[in-house]
Symmetry: C2
Subunit: 433 residues, 2 copies
């Protein structure tokens, strides 16, 4: 190891992940060197706050509050952006790329907001940009898409990409908690932010879906084209009924090639209990990738946290070091295109099966009216589950449909929810088999 | 793509996987080029049989029966060994490495038998050797260990690595088949060889365990040091009792660091029903890797077959091309050591929990005798399941132990199986939580 060539690393941001990366690089230097043949050495670390104990010992001389000086330092050959946020991070990343220095980042918000210009600059300057930890934390799924499955056309991706949501849904089912109780628990355990909106409303998952879709299909996907629904509307009742029907509700990112179009959508989804995705519980994430050669593959692990994220950042650093040493860079391909993005399918054109929970008057003939309305929009019923629980004059009735176009289903529901036999708006979830 | 630099590939072996690789490289050339920035071009394909239709169209001029001429061809810069078997494959791989040409192989038998000399020659000649498809078929788990988890010390690995065995166990449970019926079905469907011994006796899994253990811990693991049990001894009765206790029986490779030692073992194992490994069914494979930074990660997919294997071979070819272009090679590290291998722990020293199925005379006090014998060897009982089914004068009794050293347990069982209250030898399986 001592005679091994080393490459200087500069870390921007000495918070949770930055400290984890510094710790991992120092602690596992020997094993990294033996696997890579090169030694990563931390030359500089920048943070505005140098007073807080980070739980890792570093040479105090390498610490600075001046992030730009780290980017410019000639001994720093790889810039690792772990500041978070978008504005300062963007400026520093663009400076590094302008200087021809490869960048490793875990910042999905940065890529979702400024991805096109950052990718374009990296391509123009022919510099490496690695962002493995922006999706799936410790799970090497970006690596799999860029490298392990490089020979595959991608048919589709389904992902559980947000540990906060998955924890809440797991606890709602396991303990019969309602949404608010499970959220409180997640916050008490540090699995949810004080302001949990980004997670529970599905936008964190959508940011990641945009990155995965772009990698899989080679075009820039605007956030605005993604249909996003979060988990606030999921009741413990629906979790129970889904279970009776053989399903579990997960917040899923669904990315799928359909003909010449691509679906990119994020919403609560019923998945069959016997599938692997259904068995992913707690704060764990998982991504199922379906390739034309490989068939179905799945990647599972912790989607967030200091050390899992550090694991992926370190593997990106290692890959960039290897590329630097060889004068190679991994192309960003169509991610760097500045032309108009391709069209993501409108959610109304998506064809899938649906779970519907209706609140119907408890009297003969009502189910017939519902079936007629669905039928007049070309929607067939696959099964009906009627629980003997009345809510006042109304009883809950669950209908599972065969495949239907969402636009047609919505038209039918508008009609159904206007009927006087219906007590409250129908609850609708999509099903993925 | 037309202006992209290309790199010549030579394929040795035009059988199932060879044809799959040729097909995949041709079919997905555009997407590979866009992701890699380099274009793989098949210059030569060698096979003794050039008459059989391979289901893929290649230029007839590149076909030859002379494999050595492919290795020597100056236009062939990457040699892809897909012949299978060990002797011819070994000679050709060694020739390629001697010529300084990087080799991609999917041949686990070759690596298990001649790995040390092949790794050593690759290291001596400073040439790349990639073998991603030797474990897990389409699952990029070798890639994950060499690259995605490069920053991690590996605590342990648990793998379902043989699709034939997993199919048989899945069918035994789902349909209540006995082992022979399930094996017949697997053979009829082409999931098991006419001579299935290599698969069902655990040796295929052990070959893969040896490769994973070597990668994880950086030392050469001799096959002879691995404790191997196959699935012939599993009865439908044990599958059912395991289910009653909340477990499913899987053929598992277990690799684990314990203090300064390493366990490498292959045997039928009870895994809790709610775990992801338990939900891996049919011909699918899965590998759980536990790293110090990343925590638990799992990789799942098809472990064999023309196209999944081709997917991984193609990703190895792409990586070797990238390395070639940059003048880099990925070190084999301790895999190439020719010094004495480290010591794998004796199975008698392994500490784990056990499932025991005893056949006991149906009369008062017998369970007390068993408990006394176990207790005298320091083994504690966690639970007892007594089924009200008598087999002649005997009843089946299932005991789950707390953690115990296997050597102690075997001593207790020798004593127990000699008692006259015991009708037939006790069935023993290990449990992994």
């Amino acid at each position: 190891v001592d005679s091994m060539r080393d490459i200087g690393i500069g870390i921007l941001g000495f918070g949770t992940v930055g400290a984890g990366v510094a710790d991992g690089l120092q602690r596992n230097a020997r094993v990294i060197g033996s696997r890579l043949g090169l030694l990563p050495v931390i030359r500089r670390i920048a943070d505005v706050d140098l007073g807080t104990d980070r739980g890792v010992t570093v040479d105090p001389d390498i610490l600075t509050q001046d992030a730009e000086s780290v980017v410019r330092d000639p001994d720093v050959r790889v810039v690792v952006e772990l500041i978070g946020g978008t504005e300062t991070a963007r400026d520093l990343v663009m400076q590094a790329l302008e200087l021809g220095k490869p960048v490793v980042t875990a910042n999905k918000a940065l890529l979702a907001e400024y991805g096109r210009e950052i990718f374009a600059l990296a391509e123009q300057r022919q510099v490496d940009l690695y962002f493995g930890a922006s999706v799936g934390g410790g799970i090497p799924v970006i690596r799999a898409l860029r490298e392990g499955l490089i020979g595959n056309e991608i048919h589709g991706i389904q992902g559980i990409l947000n540990g906060t949501c998955n924890y809440i849904l797991t606890r709602m089912e396991a303990e019969g908690l309602d949404f608010e109780q499970a959220l409180d628990e997640a916050q008490a355990k540090g699995y949810a932010e004080a302001d949990p909106a980004l997670d529970i409303d599905g936008y964190d998952t959508a940011h990641k879906a945009v990155i995965l879709a772009s990698l899989a299909y080679g075009f820039s996907v605007p956030m605005a084209s993604v249909a996003v629904e979060g988990i606030r509307g999921i009741s413990e009742t629906d979790i129970r009924y889904a279970g009776d029907l053989g399903y579990r509700i997960k917040l899923l990112a669904v990315i799928k090639r359909v003909g010449s179009g691509v679906e990119v959508r994020v919403h609560p989804t019923l998945v069959p209990l016997e599938t692997i995705l259904a068995s992913v519980d707690g704060v764990y994430n998982a991504v199922m990738v379906h390739g034309d050669l490989v068939g179905k593959t799945l990647y599972y692990g912790r989607g967030a946290g200091r050390e899992p994220t550090a694991s992926t950042v370190i593997s990106d650093i290692a890959e960039v070091m290897k590329n630097l040493e060889g004068g190679f860079r991994r192309p960003l391909g169509a991610l760097a295109q500045t032309a108009d993005p391709a069209q993501v399918m409108d959610i109304g054109d998506v064809i899938t099966r649906f779970y519907l929970r209706l609140s119907l008057l408890d009297r003969p003939g009502v189910l017939g009216s519902i079936a007629n309305s669905l039928g007049s929009h070309g929607i067939c019923i696959a099964s009906v589950l009627q629980k003997k629980i009345s809510q006042g004059d109304y009883v809950p009735v669950v209908i599972v449909t065969h495949q239907a176009r969402e636009g047609e289903l919505n038209a039918a529901l508008a009609e159904i929810d206007g009927m006087e036999i219906v007590g409250s708006p129908t609850v609708k979830f999509r099903i993925e088999e």
